[in-house]
């Protein structure tokens, strides 16, 4: 999957665990865990919610890399 993210880093800055992060963005702990592991690419709306909670831009947290 060519989508990389720095969610774990931003979450650490906020000082919240996955469960609390999930509650803040209106999703489950499992989804936060899957995003951090790179197993799941979030929808646009979830990515925007995460960016808003982290007070950052979407592209600061999520990075798209072309597959070679």
């Amino acid at each position: 999957m060519p989508l990389y993210n720095r969610l774990k880093e931003f979450r650490a800055r906020l000082g919240v665990n996955q469960q609390e992060m999930g509650t803040l963005v209106g999703t489950s702990r499992q989804t936060i865990s899957q995003i951090e592991r790179g197993d799941y690419s979030p929808s646009v709306s979830l990515a925007l919610k995460i960016a808003k909670v982290c007070e950052a831009r979407v592209e600061d947290i999520f990075e798209y890399e072309e597959e070679s």
């Binding site: 665990n17 996955q18 999703t27 489950s28 499992q30 899957q34 799941y40």
Partner: protein, 272 residues
């Protein structure tokens, strides 16, 4: 500009190569299926002509009459003990969770998939064993006690498997709900799957949909194989048209449900 054109040509060539590979693979599968079908048909016909099939069946029935009730009960007992132990171990691990260690909780979640796998597999196996049990009950005329053991044992094992499966599933769902408070649903509710899906978020729904698509593809292949088997059985074992009809009904429901759902989703007429 020239580089862009070259890339386009390369992409087209790769696509053609890919198509050619798929076509070759398809032809090989078709030829192998044909050879396999002819071979199976010839072998079964030979057994039938020589009259050995009846002897083999008679011996097999006698062996099964003793083995099936024991196997039925043992299978359920083993499944319940293994599933229960996994569930108990997951609960103990969950009690030790500090609420922070993410790898720890992910391990518990993965562990909880196994009892569900056991319950789902057992449900299908139990249905098969139940039918096999009563098939033997029907064909074995004596001794009377053996028929009673087969009937009562089969019924008891089936009921125990059913109740045990529900208890195991309930234990898993309860623990899952404790770990993920947003999850909803009661396994005793007839609308459990709908309620559970409703409480899942986008990532979990994607997992469910992907798994369902894989199941659809696997079932389609299984239907094709079972159609060949039932067709050969009809010609060689005089099984009649019933197995063929059953497979065709399943295949039709599967493909029609898929096609109609796709059409509704594409045209925006589906509620889901």
């Amino acid at each position: 500009m020239e580089q862009h054109t070259n890339e386009k040509i390369d992409a087209e060539a790769m696509e053609k190569k890919k198509d050619a590979k798929i076509t070759v693979k398809f032809v090989i599968i078709m030829v192998l299926t044909l050879i396999g079908g002819v071979f199976l048909g010839a072998v079964t016909n030979l057994i039938k002509e020589q009259g050995n099939a009846e002897v083999v069946w008679a011996i097999l029935e006698q062996v099964l009459a003793y083995a099936v009730p024991i196997l039925f009960v043992t299978m359920n007992l083993v499944a319940m003990v293994v599933g229960g132990c996994i569930c108990h171990s997951a609960r103990k691990k969950a009690a030790k969770w500090d609420g922070e260690d993410e790898e720890w909780i992910d391990k518990i979640e993965k562990q909880l998939n196994y009892p569900i796998l056991i319950v789902n597999g057992l449900q299908v196996l139990n249905s098969f064993m139940f039918a096999l049990n009563f098939y033997l009950w029907k064909i074995i005329e004596e001794p009377e006690w053996q028929r009673d053991v087969i009937a009562l044992g089969g019924l008891a094992a089936y009921m125990a498997g059913l109740i045990g499966g529900i208890i195991l599933q309930k234990k898993v769902v309860t623990l899952e709900k404790e770990l993920n408070p947003e999850k909803r649903g009661n396994v005793l509710d007839t609308k459990f799957q709908e309620v559970w899906l409703e409480s899942c978020d986008e990532a979990q729904k994607e997992i469910i949909y992907k798994a369902a698509y894989k199941a659809f593809k696997a079932t389609n292949v299984a239907c094709m194989v079972m159609w060949i088997v039932s067709f050969i059985s009809m010609l060689t074992f005089d099984c009649g048209m019933m197995p063929v009809i059953c497979v065709i009904i399943l295949w039709m429901v599967l493909n029609m449900t898929y096609s109609i759902s796709c059409h509704k989703l594409e045209t925006g007429n589906s509620k889901n």
